[in-house]
Symmetry: C2
Subunit: 136 residues, 2 copies
DNA sequence: TCCTAGCTTGGACTTTGTCTAAGTCAACAC
DNA sequence: GTGTTGACTTAGACAAAGTCCAAGCTAGGA
């Protein structure tokens, strides 16, 4: 995760212990934590860290494009550190497990000109839903 | 919208004035109102209708498959009465306007077997993002 | 070592949604 | 038309997720 911290520092961030801890918590593959989960894990490492700081830090990482915000169910947003590799999400309707997936083709290309209503399209997010092996 | 009311009645619903008003508010094309917006418009027609009833009625319509729930931004859910025609959504990053769109091809088919992690896929939702003609 | 802009904190506040107990009423039977 | 009953509605309390603010703290440059 030091590359994330290095990138943040390169962008002029002050490298505080709070930000370091949030970045560490978000390290890994198939990580999709809610802000509250990030806070809970951050508290394990730095007991005095506040909720507001976790929200601020996550928001800043999203603004910088280092972390993706994923809204899967209209409840809490989830934060995905895998921002530098294009991917979509597959969610289990039973237990809520989330996997990163890589469909073939470009979804934007599948939208015909006469279905664009004059919009300039910037991207597309796909959420696949199904049942995972444990929930079947 | 009387067909929606007829379908609901056919499912054993008691046809109250509150439910009638919620169904009327949801009538139309490219309708994607939040629960609060539905409530505000329902109050115009039936001043004493409560928030709880609007939430209950929308939830029941979703359960029956007559209305779709759309989570576009992690904030309030939106309710889409166009449940009987498969479609996806195109959202303006500037003003939040939402259009129903119909991309070509089947997104589920674009997900290779080795990217399914043993899940049984039931469907896919695509959210296109861009800027509408007014926001460009 | 000092300074200061930027960061963090706790708590109040907002938004969105759920729950409950008590009262109301649509639809059926007669 | 009237009575009955269980489904429906209501107001308000509550909960979850997130934002905002004033006051204090501190990383990193001078």
């Amino acid at each position: 995760m030091s590359d994330l911290l290095d990138r943040l520092r390169g962008r002029g961030w002050r490298l505080t212990s709070q930000r370091r801890v949030v970045a560490e918590v978000l390290d890994g593959e198939h990580v999709h934590l809610t802000a509250d989960e990030v806070h809970a894990r951050a508290v394990d490492r730095l007991p005095e860290i506040s909720r507001a700081t976790v929200y601020n830090t996550l928001g800043e990482m999203v603004t910088l494009g280092e972390v993706l915000e994923v809204s899967t169910d209209g409840r809490a947003k989830r934060y995905d550190p895998n921002a530098h590799h294009a991917h979509q999400h597959l969610i289990c309707s039973g237990c809520g497990a989330i996997r990163d997936v890589h469909p073939q083709g470009d979804p934007v290309a599948a939208l015909p000109a006469n279905e664009r209503f004059g919009f300039v399209i910037s991207g597309a997010e796909i959420t696949y839903r199904g049942l995972c092996p444990n929930c079947r």
